[in-house]
Amino acid sequence: MTYEIKSSPEFAMIDYRLADGESVVAESGAMVAMSANVTMKTEARGGLLAAAKRKLLGGESIFQNTYTAKGGEGQVMLAPAAPGDVLAFELAAGKSLMIQSSAYLAATPQVTLDTKWGGVKGFFSGTGMFLLKATGPGTVFVSSYGAIYPKRCDGQYIVDTDHIVAFEESVTYTVTKVGGIKSLFLGGEGLVAKFSGTGMVYAQTRSPGSLAGFLHPYRPVKNNN
């Protein structure tokens, strides 16, 4: 397989080329266009139970789509929902990348997705930060709203939880707040993830939550009569 990420960083899209018989797995809804000899199969990857756990803890859809080229080369174009960038990560066998679940876009078939690591913590801390652990061998594609700011954490680094895209498994995190109580309620800075260790952390330069916050006052007001 080969791929090219086009229209980066504003409206990135993966132009994915499959050899005969090759497959790519994508989050449902990611397919933009494909050649007619590509077949789509919808399945709960890793079995229904594992997929249900990912859905519950990771926020990821239960079902993912596998696109396979049949009887010749095929093309699939994949894009995320928000305007922004797409990054590809090549994972060696057994190597993992932690991905904020809504940033997950697609992966080669051998990549496994799990929520064991950190997902439960994100779920119970009520931060809305749901993480998936993608483990190689293979390629995994992640997407952002806005551009992706790559930053090497060397010691400790803080990222607003709404802006986390992905991070290497060599860093660990705790969810905390910045500033005092006054800051939390009045300062507008909510919860942040404090990363520790050495490794790459990827942040998106816009957040869907803050866009929704901007739009909220423009919603119609409910008429209770």
């Binding site: 800051s183 800075e189 404090k194």
Partner: protein, 228 residues
């Protein structure tokens, strides 16, 4: 402290690089990432102490405006803090060197601590029709990061110039403005080009290529109603 602007123009990010002892002030909620040793303080922008804090709170509640600003301090070691606005668009850095700049409040992103931000002054707000504009006055020394919805265009005014009320980012104090109708009363009522700012004088004017309120008006009605 200096700003480095990355990912311009669509999804710009302002990265404040701080030397030991430096600080940077930012609009509340703008912080995206920071070094872990950077210390943050929240304050109301106008006035000091509890009085200023409560006044800030009062204004924030009654006017629906955010008057809280956060200051990020690099105490003993150099570090960075990055900031971004809610909407897609560009960020510009205006170098303050003792002069003044009038900034449309939503365009303020961050500034060096040598830049004074004043919200309580004569020209603080402009009411017109159903809309209003809030202005802040920046003066002092240091870099001032301003955000735009869309691209930023600089216009050198010498004489008169007309800008739609929703497209103003900032202007230099050599300019004064008045809110005007364009066209006839008929246009005011039946065209969305009703009210504009007419600038007079000499100085730079910075405009944004999209209007946040127009975008809100486009998307908001398609969302489910809110309770209040």
């Amino acid at each position: 402290m200096h700003f480095e602007i990355e990912f311009s123009p669509a999804y710009a990010l302002a990265i404040a690089k701080l030397n030991p002892g430096d600080a940077v002030m930012a609009e509340s909620g703008a912080m995206i990432t920071q070094d872990a040793h950077i210390r943050m303080e929240t304050s109301a922008s106008a006035g000091k102490g509890v009085g200023g804090f409560l006044k800030g709170l009062g204004r924030s509640m009654f006017l629906g405006e955010s008057f809280f600003r956060n200051t990020f301090h690099a105490d003993s070691a150099a570090g960075e803090v990055s900031f971004a606005p809610s909407l897609p668009g560009d960020i510009m850095v205006y170098p303050m060197q003792g002069q003044e700049l009038i900034v449309q409040q939503q365009s303020f992103l961050a500034s060096g601590t040598g830049v004074e931000i004043e919200t309580k002054w004569g020209g603080f707000k402009s009411f017109f029709g159903e809309g209003r504009l809030f202005w802040i006055r920046a003066f002092g020394n240091g870099p001032l990061a301003l955000n735009a919805f869309g691209a930023i265009k600089e216009i050198e005014v010498n004489g008169s110039y007309v800008i739609d009320t929703g497209h103003i980012v900032a202007f230099e104090p050599g300019l004064t403005f008045s809110i005007k109708r364009v066209g006839s009363w008929f246009s005011t009522f039946f065209s969305s080009e009703g009210l504009v700012c007419r600038f007079e004088g000499k100085g730079k004017l910075y405009i944004q290529s999209r209007n946040p309120a127009a975008f809100g008006g486009l998307v908001g009605p398609k969302l489910p109603p809110r309770n209040n």
